[in-house]
């Protein structure tokens, strides 16, 4: 036994771990402080009130919210199927639908273009019969964002459904409640916190979407030029405007982190 009689476990950090850890913190935080230091704080209100900036901001908010709504409508049922179905091939299906989590977004954009472009596999028929071409419209933005962000919702909700108490669903069944009524009246309220968390995550991911959107929807001010694309395009010509909008996205990110702190800041991530 050592002479130390602390009841606390030993918390000294060996230097081969401490030094890289400090470097890692600096590496992650220095760029953000650079952004904060270079922000033209006094001109910030005018910069954000610029019509072009406002337009990008509004478009981003609308499309991210629409993408989240679409993800909820399609993703929650998908999560339920993935969590509850015992059919063979479900795990393979899960792998495929969560692929966009790791797929480079720009590849997603190319894939969307190949599928729904004017001359795409499905898009050519849509164009032929309706005269409607999806790419480079606001709908394309929403679809690109949903494609990239929906898996976040699916994964979060599926995890919640898996760990939800099946016994309560059984109890509901014995009380005469059919499967869909049970889902609506018992399961959904039980997984509510995860549903909120998944929606916030999805929304934040959609808001920051760049690669797929730029590829599939392009960059038309007012229709497809979302905030990240606007920032990228104005960085050379008007860096102050780009920095101002970057700050907005940073604030959104910090807010999301604060909202999800119970799930993430406690050790042991449960996505």
């Amino acid at each position: 036994m050592s002479a130390r009689r602390d009841t606390e476990p030993d918390t000294r950090v060996p230097w081969p771990l401490a030094v890289p850890a400090v470097l890692a913190v600096l590496f992650l935080l220095l760029p953000l402080s650079g952004l904060l230091l270079r922000t033209p704080w006094t001109e910030l209100p005018q910069l954000l009130a610029e019509p072009a900036a406002l337009q990008a901001l509004r478009l981003s908010l609308i499309t991210a919210t629409a993408a989240t709504a679409l993800s909820l409508f399609l993703g929650v049922p998908l999560a339920w199927v993935l969590a509850r179905s015992r059919r063979p091939g479900i795990s393979l299906l899960r792998a495929f639908v969560t692929l966009p989590l790791v797929l480079p977004p720009v590849v997603g954009g190319v894939a969307l273009l190949m599928a729904f472009g004017r001359r795409g596999i499905f898009g050519q028929y849509i164009y032929e019969y309706t005269g409607f071409s999806l790419p480079f419209t606001v709908w394309a933005v929403i679809i690109a964002e949903t494609f990239v962000a929906m898996p976040f919702l699916v994964v979060t909700v599926e995890g919640a459904l898996r760990s939800a108490d099946r016994g309560l669903e059984e109890a509901a069944a014995t009380l005469g409640s059919g499967p869909f009524a049970t889902f609506r009246r018992v399961t959904l309220p039980l997984i509510w916190p995860s549903l909120i968390a998944g929606s916030v995550l999805t929304w934040a991911r959609a808001l920051g979407e760049f690669g797929a959107t730029a590829t599939f929807a392009g960059s038309f001010p007012g229709t497809t030029q979302t905030m990240p694309i606007y920032i990228y395009e104005t960085m050379q010509s008007e860096p102050d405007a780009a920095i101002a909008l970057s700050l907005v996205l940073l604030v959104v990110s910090v807010t999301v982190l604060a909202l999800l702190r119970d799930r993430w800041l406690n050790s042991g991530t449960r996505l």
Binding site: G167, A171, A172, A173, G176, S177, G178, R185, P189, W192
Partner: protein, 379 residues
């Protein structure tokens, strides 16, 4: 007495009341485990299903509830078929109208007590206001209306148990099923809820089945007890019959009795040769039993006397030697396990333990009067 025969035979009921009741021939298997039991419960009767862990009690309950489909057999209630693999009829839990009280209650944590109780009427299409009115009425009947606005998390164990019962009753069930309803309660609450539960179930007009591993619960709650062991019915009868004349070691132990299986070697003198070695003499033997008939004999631990060396005056007709193998303190006495021919559990006072210095390995003499030995035909 018929102990192991068909329950409908040992508890005679008219056919008309059977129509109101449950008639279930349950055959299911899960892996190596197979459950095969024919259960009949007339309307208004409370049947306790008693058995050790893994006997198939919960499987039986889940089968009746429609949570597990039958492999073979048939379940019908009040003339309506719920499950019949032969004709491919299967009504699932949603359609069965059963009031199932789970061991862990399974109250919906996001709903108030009132909405928990109103859940079943709502699920069956009753408008919210009407469902709540019905729920409130049920809560009032059970004296629980003060809890209506609470969430399940704000209830004590006893309150949660009552609410679970209220929720099951409010669904207008054709049958009540209760899975270890008192197991999650502390001893004092259990005592209180037990008598209340007995009243509620007695006033329920359909059949009720209570699954339990607690013999006292079965004795107090039920009109009839069915003992399930390893997926088979080993005994059915009234609580008094089961308590007095257990047919298996498991039930005998639950009832606190020494049970011996043997053969009647001398009907005139009541001599029984025990399978485990030794002999017992019973003062009376059921009439008409031939020599060599298989019989069971029970002897209460309190009816056996334990001595060191000299036997006392008087002449108990059963005397045998043994070795103390264990001493266990019960609440008001000490139970001594003795190895011998036959083995026996003997109840003595704590003072006797001290006086006789009873420790494992000690040689003792046991004696029991013939009048204390109850013998009956083995099933």
């Amino acid at each position: 007495m018929a102990q192991q025969r068909d329950p409908a035979v040992s508890a005679p009921v008219s056919t008309s009341s059977l129509i109101e009741g449950l008639d279930a021939d349950v055959q299911v298997s899960r892996g190596a485990f197979a459950l095969s039991a024919h259960v009949r419960v007339p309307g208004g009767e409370v049947l306790a299903v008693l058995g050790p862990n893994g006997a198939g009690k919960t499987t039986l309950l889940r089968t009746l509830a429609g949570l597990i489909p039958l492999r073979q057999g048939r379940i019908s209630i009040a003339g309506t078929v719920w499950d019949d693999p032969a004709t491919d009829v299967f009504k699932d839990a949603t359609e069965r109208r059963i009031g199932l009280v789970f061991q862990d209650y399974r109250l919906f944590p996001h709903l108030s007590v009132l909405d928990n109780v109103a859940f079943a009427p709502r699920a069956r299409g009753v408008k919210r206001a009407a469902a709540r009115a019905h729920a409130l009425e049920t809560l009032q009947t059970l004296g629980l209306d003060a809890l209506a606005a609470r969430r399940p998390a704000q209830l004590s164990g006893g309150q949660a148990q009552r609410v679970a019962l209220a929720r099951a009753l409010a669904s207008g069930p054709a049958m009540m099923l209760l899975d270890e309803p008192l197991a999650a309660l502390d001893a004092r609450t259990r005592l209180e809820i037990r008598s209340e539960l007995r009243r509620r179930l007695t006033s329920f007009s359909g059949p009720s089945i209570v699954v339990t591993h607690d013999p006292l619960e079965a004795l107090v709650l039920a009109d009839r007890i069915l003992v399930l062991e390893e997926g088979r019915i080993v005994q059915t009868g009234t609580p008094a019959e089961v308590a007095r004349r257990p047919v298996t070691e498991y039930v005998a132990r639950l009832m606190g009795l020494n049970l011996y299986a043997g053969r009647l070697i001398d009907p005139a003198h009541g001599r029984i040769r025990l399978d485990s070695g030794g002999e017992l003499i019973a003062a009376s033997i059921p009439e008409g039993l031939p020599a060599d008939a298989k019989v069971l004999a029970v002897l209460a631990p309190t009816a056996i006397s334990l001595h060191l060396g000299e036997l006392p005056e008087g002449s108990p007709r059963n005397v045998w030697a043994g070795t103390v193998s264990g001493v266990e303190l019960l609440t008001d006495r000490v139970r001594v396990a003795v190895k011998g021919a036959p083995d026996a559990l003997v109840d003595v006072t704590a003072a006797a333990v001290a006086e006789l210095r009873l420790t494992p390995g000690l040689e003792v003499q046991l004696s029991a009067k013939a009048g204390e030995v109850t013998a009956y035909p083995a099933p």
